[in-house]
C-alpha cells in the first residue's frame, strides 16, 4: 500500500508543476493579448480611413490601375494567417476548418502564401502550392514586417496568373470569441471594401461607413502616381490589419486554453488528493488490523 500512496504523491507533484507552467503561459498570453489588442485597435482608425479612400477611388470608373482590375488568370491566391506556436486551443483548427470548407466548395487552383508555421504545415498537408511562407514574425509587429508579404502578393498578382487574392484570418471580436473570416484583398473592388470596413474590429455597424461621394477626386501630381502609391500601401495596411487581428485572437485563445488547463489541473489535484487520503487511510487501517490480529494470536 505504501507504494501506491507514493505514486499518487508523485502524480500530484507533477500535475502541480504542469499547472505552474500553464498558469505562467496564461499570464504571458494575457499580457501579450492586451498589447496586441491595443495595437489592432490603434490601427483600425487608419485602416478604416484608408479603406474609405480606396472605396472612393475604386468608384471612379475612369481610373485604371492593374490592382483595381481582376487578374487575367484563373487561379486564386490565398494568404493564410495562422500561428507559429501551438497550445492555443482551437485557433488554428478553426482557421483550417474554414479553409478546408473553402477549398472543397471552390473548384479552382489555389496557391497559398502562409504566415505562421502551422499555416505552412497545413498547406503542405493539403497539397496546396506554396508561393511563400513567412514564419516567426516578430511579436511586436510593425508595418515594416509586412512589406515582404505585401510585395510578394502584389508582384505575383501583377504577373497575371491569378484572378484574385483572398486572405484567411481570424477577426478579434472579444477575448472570448473570435471568428475566422475569408475576405477579398485583390483586386480592389468596392464590394470588398465596404465589407472590410464594416468588419474591421468585428463590430458590424455599417453606419460608420462614410456617405456616398458624388464629386470625383482630383489627383496630384497625376492619377497614375497617386494610384501607384496609394493602392499598394492600402493593400499592405489590409494585410497588416489582418495579421494584427489574428495575433490578438491567437493570444486570446491561448489565454483561454491555458486558463482551462490550469482549472483542469486544479480539479485533478483535488481528485488525486482524495484518492491519496483514501489510500493512506486504507494502509493505516490495514496496519492496525494486522497488529490487532497479531495481538489476538498471542
Amino acid at each position: 500500500m505504501a507504494i501506491s500512496t507514493k505514486a499518487i504523491k508523485n502524480r500530484i507533484k507533477s500535475v502541480n508543476n504542469t499547472k505552474k507552467i500553464t498558469k505562467a503561459m496564461e499570464m504571458v498570453a494575457a499580457s501579450k493579448m492586451r498589447r496586441a489588442v491595443e495595437k489592432s485597435i490603434a490601427s483600425r482608425e487608419y485602416a478604416k480611413r484608408a479603406l474609405e479612400l480606396l472605396s472612393h477611388i475604386s468608384k471612379d470608373n475612369l481610373l485604371q490601375h492593374p490592382l483595381l482590375k481582376p487578374g487575367k488568370g484563373d487561379k486564386t491566391m490565398l494568404v493564410i494567417v495562422a500561428s507559429d506556436k501551438g497550445l492555443c486551443g482551437g485557433f488554428n483548427v478553426n482557421v483550417f476548418k474554414e479553409l478546408r470548407h473553402y477549398i472543397n466548395s471552390h473548384d479552382e487552383e489555389i496557391h497559398a502564401v502562409c504566415v505562421g508555421k502551422y499555416a505552412e504545415r497545413f498547406a503542405k498537408k493539403s497539397n496546396l502550392n506554396v508561393l511563400g511562407s513567412f514564419i516567426d514574425m516578430p511579436d511586436d509587429l510593425s508595418p515594416e514586417d509586412i512589406r515582404g508579404i505585401a510585395r510578394l502578393v502584389i508582384d505575383e498578382y501583377l504577373k497575371g496568373e491569378y484572378r484574385r487574392v483572398r486572405v484567411v484570418y481570424t477577426n478579434f471580436v472579444s477575448a472570448m470569441s473570435n471568428e475566422v473570416d475569408i475576405r477579398g484583398l485583390l483586386p480592389v473592388t468596392e464590394a470588398h471594401i465596404t465589407r472590410s470596413i464594416a468588419d474591421t474590429g468585428g463590430t458590424k455597424d455599417k453606419e460608420d461607413v462614410s456617405p456616398e461621394v458624388t464629386r470625383l477626386y482630383q489627383f496630384e501630381p497625376s492619377d497614375e502616381a497617386v494610384l501607384d502609391l496609394v493602392v499598394p500601401i492600402l493593400t499592405e495596411v489590409q494585410i497588416y490589419q489582418s495579421l494584427l487581428e489574428s495575433r490578438a485572437s491567437e493570444y486570446s485563445s491561448r489565454m483561454v486554453a491555458m486558463k482551462s488547463a490550469s482549472e483542469n489541473a486544479d480539479e485533478m489535484v483535488e481528485d488525486l488528493t482524495l484518492s491519496f487520503n483514501k489510500a493512506r487511510q486504507a494502509s493505516i487501517t490495514q496496519e492496525i488490523l494486522e497488529i490487532s490480529s497479531g495481538a489476538q494470536g498471542l
Binding site: V213, F219, E220, P221, A225, V226, L229
Partner: protein, 139 residues
C-alpha cells in the same frame, strides 16, 4: 466655416480638431487648404504641417503618406509617422540624422531599396529637426 482635420498614423490618431487652415507639404509643393476645397488626393512629402486655428498656430512634422481632402471640408492625412512639434526630441532626431548621414556616405554598400529607404529616413529626421527648432523659437 471650419475644416475637420485629422492626422492618423498606424499607431495612433496624432491630431484631430476643427481648424481654419492647414498647410501641407506635397510632392508638388506646399498647399494650403481652406474650407470648401475641391476633393483631392495628393502624395505627402516629409516636412512640416502648419495648422491655423483661431489665430493660433500649431506645427507638426510628417513623413511620407497621403492626404485626402473630402467634399465636405474634411481633411484626412494618412502618414507613416507624424509628431506634434512639442513631442519632438530634437537631440534624438539630430543624432538619428547624423547616424543616417554617416551610413549614407558608404552608399556603395547598399542596394537601391535600402538606399532609398535611408534617404527617406534622413528626410524625415530633417523635417523633425526643422519643426522642433521652429517650435522652440516660437516659444
Amino acid at each position: 466655416m471650419k475644416i475637420k482635420f485629422k492626422i492618423i498614423t498606424l499607431e495612433r490618431v496624432v491630431y484631430q480638431d476643427e481648424v481654419d487652415a492647414v498647410t501641407i507639404p506635397t510632392t508638388d509643393g506646399e498647399i494650403t487648404v481652406l474650407a470648401r476645397h475641391t476633393p483631392l488626393v495628393a502624395i505627402l512629402k516629409s516636412g512640416r504641417i502648419m495648422v491655423k486655428k483661431d489665430g493660433a498656430q500649431l506645427l507638426l512634422s510628417v513623413s511620407s503618406g497621403f492626404v485626402e481632402i473630402r467634399q465636405d471640408s474634411e481633411v484626412v492625412i494618412l502618414a507613416d509617422t507624424a509628431e506634434r512639434a512639442e513631442e519632438i526630441d530634437i537631440e534624438r532626431a539630430d543624432e538619428a540624422r547624423r547616424r543616417v548621414e554617416e551610413m549614407l556616405k558608404e552608399k556603395d554598400k547598399f542596394d537601391d531599396l535600402t538606399f532609398a529607404r535611408m534617404q527617406a529616413q534622413l528626410e524625415k529626421e530633417l523635417a523633425r529637426i526643422h519643426v522642433g527648432k521652429k517650435y522652440r523659437k516660437l516659444r
